[in-house]
């Protein structure tokens, strides 16, 4: 249980604080910038500092630090995740959480901090529910809502209000798979994983009970049809609305969804994959004059499929200039501020292959420090892409049953599949 929560600017100067327990003197907070600096100098930067009996747990968000202080041996995972939740919720309220928006919205931030944590215990952190009774603009809030906290705050279904109504009842289901991949310069895949998530946008009235069927092996075998070709999902994580014990015993995914958009579940799969978008890159440095970069990209997906918005980011030396491009497809841009070449394709058909050649000038004076000029080789090539109508793992939604026992309406589930790059789809240069 944290003693206090503080918002600080990039130098560690406090912007807004909420002290829950009053057991840590405010002078401790004044030490934080110094401790931060010490930490930085020691080159360690762990987000946990112990100083004279007080523990500083902090995360950074853009140009802010969000800090929790505690004297006890607390559940630190809870504190870290809570701080992230605070950022998530506040971002929902003020769009961009930064110095200025904190100053401008201090009233609502205090209110939220009061509602989200009491005496160091996290309480309500669901922005959908919080919005029901805490808002930036009280005049817009209907009077009757101010008379009581929403029942959902303390209900066992704490994520959905009663009395929601839609004329047309629809549920949109997106299965999105992000591919993380690490490929070395010879094209060998060192690590590949699929991070999948099922997103739902629910426009459903009342308190609907949903049941989702997937072709997951575990789920399917239990259902009896053992000959079906299923896949085995690992690390399945569910939104809090899913009945976990039901899943554990019967392998059935049932839930009452929150209203609007939410991530129903996520999963991970580590299976050997071929790179979907494969890049080969060679470079030649002509000492003191220029560098030649040769790259070849291939979409190793079905011919019928198309990858959209393919972007290949190739690192180049920082001091390179005057680029000359040649390619048989796509557009190449030089981004000197990031020291990369970006090779872009609006759409990229499966099975196609393109080549490009770029020449950049290098300063004729050789840098004394060789390693500085070589840094670019250590940076990996990054690839962004998006492939619609396709999941890499082969996961499929078998059914989405919607049942609202009282209203008994007709409803329409829609399903979409997307494969895209994950945050770590990288190919090593050398």
């Amino acid at each position: 249980m944290a003693s206090s929560i503080h918002f600080l600017d990039v130098k560690g100067k406090p912007l807004l604080s909420r002290d829950y327990k009053g057991d840590i003197p405010s002078t401790m907070l004044d030490r934080f910038p110094l401790l931060l600096l010490e930490n930085e100098e020691a080159n360690m930067m762990q987000p946990f500092i112990h100083h004279q009996g007080v523990n500083f747990v902090y995360i950074s968000h853009k140009n802010l630090y969000l800090l929790a202080m505690t004297k006890k041996n607390d559940n630190v995972m809870q504190i870290v995740i809570f701080l992230q939740k605070v950022i998530e919720v506040l971002t929902e309220y003020v769009k961009q959480l930064e110095e200025e928006s904190i100053r401008d919205n201090f009233v609502v931030i205090y209110e939220l901090l009061d509602e989200m944590m009491d005496f160091g215990c996290p309480q309500v952190t669901d922005s959908k529910i919080l919005k029901e009774y805490i808002t930036l603009d009280y005049y817009s809030l209907e009077k009757h809502k101010m008379l009581a906290p929403p029942a959902a705050v303390t209900n066992s279904v704490s994520w959905r209000q009663e009395g929601i109504f839609y004329k047309k009842n629809e549920a949109f289901l997106d299965v999105i798979e992000s591919i993380n991949m690490l490929v070395n310069s010879t094209g060998q895949v060192l690590h590949s994983e699929i991070l999948g998530r099922v997103k739902i946008k629910s426009n459903l009235s009342g308190m609907p009970d949903l049941r989702l069927g997937l072709n997951d092996k575990g789920i399917f075998n239990e259902a009896g049809s053992s000959n079906a070709k299923g896949i085995e999902l690992e690390d399945i994580k569910f939104h809090q609305c899913v009945r976990l014990s039901k899943f554990e015993t019967d392998r059935i995914i049932t839930f009452i969804p929150p209203d609007g958009e939410f991530d129903l579940m996520s999963y991970r799969l580590t299976m050997p994959l071929k790179p979907l978008i494969h890049v080969e890159c060679k470079f030649k440095i002509h000492s003191n004059s220029r560098i030649e970069i040769l790259a070849r990209v291939r979409a190793q997906i079905k011919r019928k499929s198309t990858a959209n918005n393919v972007e290949i980011m190739i690192p180049i030396p920082e001091d390179a200039d005057t680029p000359k491009f040649k390619s048989d497809g796509g557009k190449i841009k030089w981004k000197p501020e990031e020291s990369v070449l970006v090779w872009k394709f609006k759409s990229f058909q499966g099975g196609k292959e393109y080549v490009m050649k770029t020449e950049l000038g290098l300063p004729s004076v050789n840098d004394e420090d060789v390693s500085a000029g070589e840094i670019f080789k250590k940076k990996p090539i990054k690839v962004n892409f998006l492939i619609p109508y396709f999941t890499t793992s082969g996961i499929q939604v078998k059914y989405l049953r919607i049942n609202e026992p009282k209203l008994q309406y007709q409803s329409y589930p829609w399903v979409r599949y997307i494969t895209e790059n994950g945050p770590d789809y990288t190919i090593r240069m050398k």
Binding site: L15, S17, D19, K21, G22, D23, N43, M44, Q46, P47, F48, H50, Q52, G53, V57, I59, K72, N73, D74, N75, V76, M77, Q78, V80, I81, R103, V107, Y110, E111, D118, F119, C121, Q123, T125, Y133, L147, A148, P149, T154, S156, S158, L190, H191, E234, D235, I236, K237, H239, Q240, L244, S245, F247, E248, D263, T270, I375, K378, K379, D424, R428
Partner: protein, 681 residues
């Protein structure tokens, strides 16, 4: 007249009056509600940026009776912040508070009781008991859950009254509340009270309570689940059936999206798993793998907490995660502290199957630009080599490759680990692979430990060094400028070289070093050692040779640092907490306040003494050299020795009985070797 002009005029007239504070005060007592509200907002804004607006206390207080809930919240916020500066005036607010706890709007009732608990003024406590009792029996669960936490606040302010008025009992009753959120908060409050004063024994899990907790677990919010799971992990199950029952109910939580729930679930399973039958044990242990891996797909900060916990869990259950090496591969975008910690896990997961993959991955890291990562990768390669004999030669080749490719600090790091490798693998094959590399690169060493390592290798294998005289000459010439670590190593090496492979001039060098060490060096250890050698050599060189050369050093089985059993047990029981991140038991860094509270009834001297001890302990912990308290029992001392050797970058944490003591002496091969020889003499 335009409004802008009017405003300007008004400013003109007001400016010479008493400034902002005056303006605020006028606003606070204005006859118009909107002006008052605006003024309150500006007061809070000033408070937020750190201005002292406590002088406005009476004026702000006048605005407490309002039906505008937003304004009420702001006034309450102000009260909480400045109550201490005006404790007397706070009492004026009591009436409003008590009234508000009877408001028809549950939001207002909850707000009032929540705020009352936060006004940390002794007098306020006297007025709290009646409203709080009412609150705990409120119809609305939102009010009850706020009341539950308020009991913990009251206990913090005045434990005697809290007990006398029966609030602890009331709180225990709330554990049976039909609403899961109320249950969760009651459990939180009880756990908090129990922690701050264990003698209350207010939170005892009985089979009835257990049933309630397990029931509420599936119903309550994510944070409630964390609370309940933590409570369950503290509970000692009575028999196998009960342990099984608890685990069965907890396992579904491992699939929760909130990582804090997952980790708390893992902790609970681990705390009960030992009671299970062996087949069940295996089954549930396997179920922990995938949630542990899932800890790695979160933000860097949460990943760091996760991975520090994984290190503890892996040491207890090494068979877990043996196939999950890839999850711990370093990502380019990871912060450094996470990268280094990932390497710790990778070397621990090394086995014969994944070794080739692991070594090629480590090679990539060793070719990176970040010096800290590169150094750690080099030592990781050696750790793998020492752990897995079948892959040791490959690793040595890799190290030689890196030395040739990278130079500078990589060489220094490699020489350090070469010393460890030679203590593990003594066959000529290894000696021939390693020593020439050291011999070729010794001149670029500038770090003391690396130099000491090179000198140790020189002393052990002088025959393998080309132009041995030049090496010895350099040692003799530079002897005085070196650090004592290097000087000690030099003494060893020169004596051994003279016995093993005397050259034409080696006797002279020996003489000059011994002279130098006994007459010019200030360090007592170095001088004593020099004298010892001198006497030994001058009395009987045959005996000296026997003593110094025939004593074989024990091979080191592993250079991967382990926790001492006592520390490990402590850390396993503190999973998920700060202790698990620092890898130190909680008593080494939490303040003694909790202990002081128990003694509150005792005399003040005692508290003063505790405070002094706390200061001393804190001073120690700043240096990381935390020995705990002087009177601590043996186990914690051992564990802090363990930390000590961590600090010194221990490379030989062999699980020998005396390894901790060796660790204390700097823990390098040279020195520990020296000590065991000294013991022999």
């Amino acid at each position: 007249m335009s409004s802008a002009l009017e405003a300007r005029l008004r400013k003109l007239f007001k400016a010479p009056r008493k400034g902002e504070s005056f303006e605020l005060r006028t606003g606070l007592v204005s006859q118009y509600a909107y002006e008052r509200k605006d003024a309150i907002q500006r007061v809070i804004a000033a408070m937020t940026v750190g201005k002292d607006v406590s002088a406005l206390f009476p004026d702000v207080l006048k605005n407490i009776a309002t039906h505008d809930i937003e304004q009420k919240k702001l006034v309450y916020l102000y009260l909480m912040n400045y109550a201490k500066t005006n404790p007397e005036l706070c009492i004026l607010a009591v009436n409003t508070f008590v009234q508000d706890t009877e408001d028809p709007n549950p939001l207002v009732r909850a707000l009032a009781i929540r705020t009352m608990g936060c006004i940390r003024v002794d007098k306020m406590v006297d007025y709290m008991d009646i409203p709080l009792k009412r609150t705990l029996k409120d119809d609305n669960p939102y009010v009850r859950k706020t009341g539950a936490i308020c009991v913990a606040k009251l206990f913090d302010l005045n434990p005697e009254m809290c007990v006398e008025q029966g609030f602890l009992q009331a709180l225990q009753d709330l554990v049976a509340d039909p609403n899961p959120m109320v249950v969760a908060n009651a459990v939180s409050a009880l756990a908090e009270i129990q922690e701050s004063d264990p003698s209350t024994q207010c939170f005892q899990i009985t089979s009835k309570v257990l049933k309630k907790l397990l029931l509420a677990l599936n119903e309550c919010t994510e944070w409630g689940r964390v609370t309940i799971l933590s409570a369950l992990s503290e509970y000692e199950s009575v028999d196998q059936a009960e342990a099984h029952h608890i685990i069965e109910r907890v396992v579904p939580q491992l699939q929760h999206v909130n990582t804090a729930v997952v980790l708390a679930g893992i902790k609970t399973v681990i705390s009960h798993i030992e009671k299970l039958s062996s087949t069940e044990y295996e089954m549930y242990l396997k179920k922990l793998s995938s949630p542990l891996v899932a800890l790695m797909s979160t933000s860097p900060e949460a990943q760091y907490v996760g991975i520090r916990n994984i290190r503890v869990i892996l040491e207890k259950y090494p068979q877990l995660l043996s196939r999950e090496l890839r999850v711990f591969y370093v990502k380019y975008s990871d912060p450094l502290y996470l990268k280094l910690e990932k390497l710790e896990i990778m070397v621990r997961l090394a086995n014969d199957k994944n070794a080739p993959l692991l070594l090629s991955e480590l090679k990539e890291y060793a070719m990176e630009v970040d010096a800290d990562l590169v150094k750690r990768a080099v030592s990781a390669i050696a750790q793998v080599a020492i752990k897995l004999p079948d892959h040791a030669m490959k690793a040595v080749e890799l190290l030689n490759f890196l030395v040739n490719q990278r130079g500078d600090y990589v060489v220094a790091e490699a020489v350090k680990v070469f010393r460890d490798l030679l203590r593990r693998y003594k066959t000529t094959e290894y000696v021939d692979a390693i020593v020439p590399v050291v011999s070729a690169n010794w001149e670029s060493l500038d770090d003391a430990e690396a130099t000491a390592a090179y000198i140790w290798i020189l002393g052990e294998y002088p025959q393998k060094f080309t132009r041995l005289d030049r090496h010895l000459q350099k040692l003799a010439e530079g002897f005085l400028e070196e650090t004592s670590v290097v000087q000690l190593a030099t003494l060893n090496a020169i004596v051994k070289t003279n016995l093993r492979a005397p050259t034409a001039n080696s006797g002279n060098y020996l003489q000059s070093i011994l002279n130098c060490a006994t007459s010019d060096v200030e360090n007592a250890d170095v001088r004593d050692k020099a004298y010892l050698y001198w006497r030994l050599l001058s009395s009987d060189s045959g005996l000296a040779a026997k003593v110094l050369l025939n004593t074989e050093l024990p091979p080191i089985p592993s250079t991967i640092a382990l926790f001492t059993p006592a520390l490990l047990a402590e850390l396993v029981s503190e999973l998920g907490t700060l202790a698990s991140v620092y890898h130190k038991p909680s008593y080494t860094f939490t303040s003694l306040i909790a202990k002081a509270k128990i003694l509150r009834a005792d005399n003040i001297e005692e508290i003063e003494r505790l405070a002094k001890r706390e200061i001393v302990a804190n001073a120690k912990s700043e240096n990381l050299l935390d020995f705990g308290d002087d009177e601590e029992i043996a186990a914690p001392v051992a564990s802090s020795l363990d930390e000590l050797s961590d600090v010194f970058g221990s490379s030989s944490q062999a699980p020998l009985a005396n390894s901790d003591i060796l660790g204390l002496f700097g823990s390098s091969g040279v020195d520990s070797g020296m000590n065991s020889q000294a013991a022999d003499i």
